[in-house]
């Protein structure tokens, strides 16, 4: 069986596993890597089908007649009212925003504008390898679904990079993240490549390799996936350096960018 087919088969096995049970950190990392190789798949590939199949089996199971206990009903309502009681001014604003955008004509306008914006973004990325075409969607998916997402803006460590903008998002549970960045100078991949590092001092003495990337355009914002080479238990910071092609295991190069701004206790 060709290698690509084997990888795709493994991807599908992991997607099935992900939709029926919790993946280990290793499995999650492997899945993230395979999803980058096969961008036509997303992590929730089988979610709808397994959910519908489960309800279908339930509906036909004559022996499963469980009713939600009355006490449980009261408990859920009590929890709901407690959550409501914590409403802030922002919640009221968000509520009216939701009502506003729920009107079909506004929702359609927003959808069309987002489609146009996404199309331009995807056109911008056409110089990338095809695998990077879906990154804006993947980043948006992570932002909307990760319960433990952390986010830091990039800070320049070099005078020549003062115009840098962007941020990094990361989830320990998902073992993945995304860099968003603009203003980084183009590199020649034959000479050097940018490398992202993940700081996890509780688990690793040295920063962990999060992958290498190239800047292939002068203008515009880039979105780059982070793929850690080791399991991360609690990421506290990130950094970017410029390394030899392919990256290194331990860096001796100066820091170009860090996130967050405060210097982490472990230095590269």
């Amino acid at each position: 069986m060709p290698r690509e087919d084997k990888k795709q088969e493994r991807l599908l096995d992991l997607l099935v596993l992900e939709s029926t049970q919790k993946l280990s950190l290793e499995e999650q990392r492997e899945l993230n890597t395979l999803l980058d190789l096969f961008p036509e798949y997303t992590q929730d590939h089988f979610h709808e089908m397994t959910a519908l199949a489960q309800v279908s089996f339930y509906a036909q199971d004559n022996f499963n007649n469980e009713l939600l206990p009355k006490q449980m009903r009261k408990r859920i309502l009590h929890a709901y009212k407690s959550e409501l009681g914590q409403s802030t001014l922002m919640d009221y604003i968000n509520h009216y925003m939701r009502v506003f955008f729920y009107k079909p004509q506004y929702a359609w306008t927003l959808t069309i504008l987002m489609t146009i914006g996404l199309s331009f973004a995807m056109i911008e990325f056409r110089t990338y390898d095809a695998n990077f075409r879906y990154l804006p969607l993947k980043r948006a998916f992570l932002e909307n679904t990760a319960n433990d997402m952390i986010q830091f803006p990039w800070h320049s460590r070099s005078n020549s990079l003062e115009s840098i903008s962007g941020d990094i998002i990361w989830t320990d549970e998902g073992q993945k993240g995304f860099i968003k960045i603009a203003g980084l100078p183009m590199n020649d991949p034959r000479q050097n490549q940018y490398q992202v590092w993940i700081l996890d001092p509780l688990n690793h003495k040295q920063p962990v390799d999060g992958g290498v990337f190239d800047v292939t355009q002068v203008d515009g914002t880039m979105i780059i996936p982070i793929n850690p080479k080791l399991p991360i238990s609690k990421a506290v910071g990130f950094a970017i350096t410029l390394e030899q092609p392919g990256g290194v295991v331990v860096s001796n190069q100066p820091l170009l960018l860090t996130a967050p701004k405060e210097r982490p206790k472990i230095t590269i």
Binding site: Q21, H47, T50, A53, Q54, V55, S56, A79, E83
Partner: protein, 208 residues
């Protein structure tokens, strides 16, 4: 351009059909902040979520914590629900499954015996109402029934009863690799049948 206009037209008709079907969508009412809508959510899906939860979690305390989390999560996600993308029951059951699977990581699971209630006529009506309300469920039910009996059993054990692949392998005395391959193939097949039928439904709407 003509193809794009046709696609938008199909989508418009599907959204319109969904909107008329889901005029009283509970999630839409929750997103609007309508009074009493959360209580309706519990009323409609409480038994379903509780039953699904019991397949994943053994300890009563874990089950109760998880079920409470599911309903709060559904409430908080109600504004993200898009009727043109999935039925309400699909949205609800997907959130429920994710939460229960997340809880599985924290605790060990153990199989429990089902309670058999002789007087289950009311509950049967509830289940029939779930099936009748959702064409997606009917599609999936028919698709499952088109599989071999053995494959239906594998899917049942994995997706509904909540057994891991290795547990199924031991239970049925089938090699683990075979279990994985068959479940993968069945889900791919179900997905293909479901998506083909969905496309046909959209085309029928277009031709109507």
């Amino acid at each position: 351009m003509a193809q794009t206009a046709k696609s938008v037209n199909i989508h418009n008709k599907r959204v319109s059909a969904m909107q008329s079907e889901d005029n009283d969508s509970i999630l839409a009412r929750i997103a609007d902040g309508e009074n009493g809508s959360f209580e309706l959510l519990i009323e409609k899906y409480g038994n379903l979520v509780w039953s699904i939860g019991k397949k994943f979690l053994y300890r009563q305390s874990d089950l109760e914590d998880a079920v409470q989390e599911v309903f709060i999560a559904i409430w908080k996600s109600a504004d993200k629900y898009d009727a043109s993308k999935a039925k309400e029951i699909t949205f609800v059951s997907m959130i429920a499954r994710r939460r229960f699977i997340d809880h599985l990581r924290k605790i060990s699971k153990h199989k429990i015996l089902e309670s058999i209630d002789d007087d289950n006529s009311g509950h049967q009506l509830y289940k029939e109402s779930l099936l009748n309300e959702s064409t997606d469920l009917q599609l999936v039910k028919n698709a499952i029934q088109s599989l071999d009996i053995d494959d239906q059993e594998l899917l049942n054990l994995s997706v509904y009863q909540g057994y891991s692949h290795s547990e199924i392998s031991k239970l049925l005395n089938i090699p683990l690799g075979t279990v994985k391959t068959r479940i993968r193939r069945n889900l791919i097949k179900l997905k293909a049948i479901f998506e083909t039928n969905e496309t046909n439904t959209i085309l029928n709407l277009n031709n109507a």
